[in-house]
Symmetry: C2
Subunit: 303 residues, 2 copies
Amino acid sequence: MPKIFKTNAEIATCGGKLLKLTHDSKETGTQMDVNIYLPKQYYDKSKKECHESKIPTLYYLSGLTCTPNNASEKAFWQLQADKYGFTVVFPDTSPRGGDEVPDDKNDWSFGKGAGFYLNATEPKYAANYRMYDYVHKELPSLLQQEFGSDGKLDFIKNKSITGHSMGGYGAISGFLKNYGAYKSCSAFAPICNPSVVGWGIKCFSNYLGSDNKAAWKQYDPCDLVKVVKSTNASDKVLIHVGTKDPFLNEHLRPELLLNASKGTTWEGKFDINLVDNFDHSYYFISTFVPEHAEFHAKHLGLL
Amino acid sequence: MPKIFKTNAEIATCGGKLLKLTHDSKETGTQMDVNIYLPKQYYDKSKKECHESKIPTLYYLSGLTCTPNNASEKAFWQLQADKYGFTVVFPDTSPRGGDEVPDDKNDWSFGKGAGFYLNATEPKYAANYRMYDYVHKELPSLLQQEFGSDGKLDFIKNKSITGHSMGGYGAISGFLKNYGAYKSCSAFAPICNPSVVGWGIKCFSNYLGSDNKAAWKQYDPCDLVKVVKSTNASDKVLIHVGTKDPFLNEHLRPELLLNASKGTTWEGKFDINLVDNFDHSYYFISTFVPEHAEFHAKHLGLL
């Protein structure tokens, strides 16, 4: 059977290995990069290969301009993944490639590096910008086929999701739209209400159509909380945002998500922590990764 | 009193702050960049300001091509600094600046980014390339003057040193040449015998003179172990090197340091750990930072 993934690098770090992979995506019609960290538990030969002990997965969605490498190098999930025993998957933030993939080279907040984790409907972008189906469906399925075949890794059934900035929006949006598919969701400095802020309006307009507000509502967390029912008493979305985040008031707007959830089944379930002095960088993310890791570990049955 | 350091950024991370600083150096005759991480203990207002509780310092010397930022972002010392309560100082790897500072723009392993932690004697480089006196004397003194003035931080008396690759050589060399000045020394993938390997020969030749072997011996750990007496029974230099380090056999050569120390007062005091599968990257460094942090914390009296 031909391999789905090409391994470009296999890097020993902490107790496990970081694999830098490339593969063809039917969704995006392009080659895609993805990094995965397999924790030390995966390499522990004494571990029994029974269904109950399969290693669960945390998906980390990166922010604007990032590749799978930024968080792999700077967020420092690896130590936590080893502590609790979960795989971490770092997808790319958009399709890549040459001029055949439409882009705006003058705008880092749209196009390549800014796929916004949705399925584009506008004709120009609809063929490639399908990051929603790619991240939530195709990628987990392909990873399961290739890396799950030995029965030790679970990329599909026992999984959680987190992300930063655009990826924080992507995590919350994907968690709500696929309610029940992820055991838990958290976010670092997420774009909470993309329909009303600059980055979101630009991407929603270009990918979904400026007058197609019905489509916008299908991705905006502030709309999704009104139509997706939280049926699990333990639902909680853990969020951290720094008070010195330069994008806090213009693009992130966590207070709008808090307001939107009022009177819905999600009221009180967004645990939004505004943390003094922190900015938007990986220095901020890495600081709160241990707390988010513990949160997900609990929901994944690891604690 | 005019400030010595200009603070270009003050970044909240973990429980403390990373300060990105610039200052004028008399040693190098240039402006220098340096990052320092002040741990959470520094910001703990309940901490008593008595001499005994001064926060000690770990100096981290980076490798070829690095600036103070690489390790600040990727080595992840901050969490460990908070755990034990020490400051981390990340100096630059050379003087910087325009054409007034001599360089070889076609060679990343010499000149800017490759100061080799020595005082150059060759006329072309002697005015600026004085990283030895800068790192071991001027910088600690300036930091103490400005940041130590409130009596909480100790950059001079209770300090340890570590480093990576060229910086690993710099740490060992500086520790031995200033025997007694540092409480402990460790290194990640150090260049152990610069006088006999490519990177070292090039830098020693250009900075010290190709026929000035007496000067080379003053910096090479394999020569220093023969003239510096270890008088402390607890002396131990902790070293990790990855078996998949691409520079292991050509430039690092830890076995030569082990051999050189035989029959000297340092015999058995280099704890060299060859670790399976690890490479030369920050993925390797960050993996062993917790072990090195604990090692230094013990020697700094924090455990």
